[in-house]
């Protein structure tokens, strides 16, 4: 019998790996020193833990330990990357390029910079969720100082051609930042092979603790300089002041080490479970659609629209399974997912989308249970859906004149 509820929302966050907790415990208890205390054992122990974590995280992404700047999480990393470059290189140029499917931490940061007078190009994506490289090339001007394109998308799991984007940026002498929060620790990600200059990482997306993240900042070829967004004691090479979260960082390092060692086996297993879920659902239900490219995708991600069934009502029916929906009703804004909209998914189908995020601790048994529950609830809700009834009667729903203004 499977243990309920089942957690299958691993893009939102992941549970802490017990091995990570174990690595954190000393720094939550006896070894509580401040890593910036240079003249006693407590400080040295803390500093040693931080430097070990720096090496472990650097190893995960093929970087040098000195290129890792610790932050409070991915939102801060994204802010530091984009604002830090914009403010540092303002005299060189005032143009930033990003994409419409980026995380809000990038989009809203860019919008903030627009108010300061920067110009931002928000590149569209195709129906697969991919940025067109020619669009990118054409968008670059001699005033472009930064390209920020995420590695893997948090909703549809689509992985951009980061290596090619990085190559274009390098050729044009533009700095390249990527939000690698969803990709790092899940798929191979190497800053040198991929020509990445700055990268955002988050511990809690790969079984580490919440409240700790990092920014990779290239030290040579080119050397990247950032204007800090937080002023203070000059920690982290002056780029990020503030006492380091030593237990969080120790956990982050351990999580990175585990991810690096287990990635080949783990990603193959995620992929197997994801495909099992997808093929089961496709066998059991008609009119279901995958959002985003299926090939260039995180192994644990499945984003699907279940036509004629509103997402929130589906979530309510599978209340012993934790997943998330692109439906408006699950967000505060009452707008359906902007990511799905950018892929050209109609609003009608966006309202019916569910994101499954399979993670390290999910089992085949759980996948089968989830597939069974979703199938059962979709069938039940379709019996309740006037749209399904109309579609079965052969009515083209697009031709219906909907009284949108009541």
């Amino acid at each position: 019998m499977v243990k309920l509820p089942i957690y299958m929302d691993n893009h939102a966050t992941t549970p802490l790996d017990p091995r990570v907790l174990k690595a954190m415990m000393p720094y939550l208890t006896d070894q509580f020193g401040n890593a910036a205390s240079r003249n006693h054992k407590f400080g040295w122990e803390a500093e040693e833990a931080v430097e070990e974590a720096r090496r472990q995280i650097a190893a995960l992404i093929g970087a040098d330990a000195r290129e890792i700047v610790f932050t409070s999480g991915a939102t801060e990393s994204d802010n530091l990357a984009v604002k830090g470059v914009a403010w540092m290189y303002r005299e060189k140029g005032d143009h930033i390029i990003t994409a419409v499917t980026e995380h809000k931490a990038i989009l809203d940061t860019c919008k903030h910079l627009e108010k300061e007078g920067f110009r931002v190009t928000f590149l569209p994506v195709d129906s697969k969720g991919l940025v067109d490289l020619d669009d990118l090339r054409k968008a670059i001007t001699d005033k472009t100082i930064l390209i920020s394109i995420m590695t893997a998308n948090n909703e549809v799991g689509v992985i951009q051609d980061i290596k090619a984007i990085g190559k274009i940026a390098r050729e044009r002498g533009v700095l390249f930042h990527t939000d690698a929060v969803q990709a790092a620790g899940k798929v191979p990600f190497n800053v040198n092979e991929m020509n990445v200059d700055i990268a955002s990482l988050s511990a809690h997306k790969f079984y580490g603790p919440k409240g700790v993240g990092a920014l990779y900042v290239r030290r040579r070829n080119p050397r990247v300089l950032l204007t800090p967004i937080i002023d203070g004691g000059g920690h982290e090479r002056g780029m990020r002041s503030g006492t380091l979260n030593v237990p969080g960082i120790a956990g982050f390092g351990k999580a990175a080490q585990i991810a690096r060692e287990e990635m080949p086996k783990e990603s193959a297993e995620m992929f197997r479970l994801r495909e099992r879920l997808r093929t089961t659902l496709e066998r059991e239900l008609d009119e279901i659609y995958i959002n985003g490219d299926l090939q260039r995708r995180l192994p644990g991600n499945l984003n699907m629209s279940f036509a004629y069934v509103e997402g929130e009502s589906l979530l309510m029916g599978i209340n012993d399974v934790a997943v998330s929906s692109g439906s408006a009703c699950t967000s505060a804004s009452l707008e359906p997912s902007y990511v799905l909209k950018a892929l050209g998914v109609g609003e009608d189908l966006a309202h019916t989308s569910i994101r499954f995020g399979i993670g390290r601790f999910n089992t085949e048994e759980e996948v089968d249970y989830v597939a069974g529950r979703v199938t059962e609830v979709v069938r039940r809700l379709r019996e309740l859906s006037p749209l399904y009834e109309m579609a079965k009667e052969g009515i083209d729903l697009k031709s219906v004149h909907w009284a949108t203004e009541a």
Binding site: E312, M316, S327, E347, P386, T404, A406
Partner: protein, 132 residues
């Protein structure tokens, strides 16, 4: 997203799900909302021509749990009422009964609109209509 017990009950055991023949002269059909907005409700009433009393009501809803509950409740409430009494049902009554949070008030508005649309459709079929 904490649902009230009544919303959960209507979601799990929706009352009066189904369809009435929309060509039947005694059936009024209301179809409100739009798929793009994430809510579509179809509410149908069967009216006794003599008495003007709603003898039966059915619904089908595409929407969140609160939308399903609002329309399910609406069918329960209109049954046995005259058209005039049915038209007197206000969305605020539904909000109160189901303890809907502010973000879900539009679901109750849609249910009220569905009742009105069904009554209007019935009246249209009956030309003179019954004064409400």
């Amino acid at each position: 997203m904490a649902y009230s017990d009544k919303v959960i009950d209507h979601y799990n055991n929706p009352r009066n799900v189904g369809s009435l023949p929309k060509e039947d002269p005694n059936v009024g059909t209301g179809l409100v909302g739009a798929p793009e907005c994430g809510d579509v409700m179809k509410l149908q009433i069967k009216v006794n021509e003599e008495s003007g009393v709603i003898e039966d009501a059915k619904f089908k809803t595409f929407g969140c749990g609160s939308a399903i509950a609002s329309s399910s409740l609406a069918t329960e409430w209109v049954k046995g009422k005259t058209l005039g009494e049915a038209l007197a049902i206000k969305n605020t009554d539904i909000v109160k009964e189901l303890s809907l949070p502010p973000v879900k008030i539009h679901c109750s508005v849609l249910a009220e609109d569905a009742i009105k649309a069904a009554v209007t459709d019935w009246k249209k079929k009956h030309g003179d209509g019954l004064t409400s």
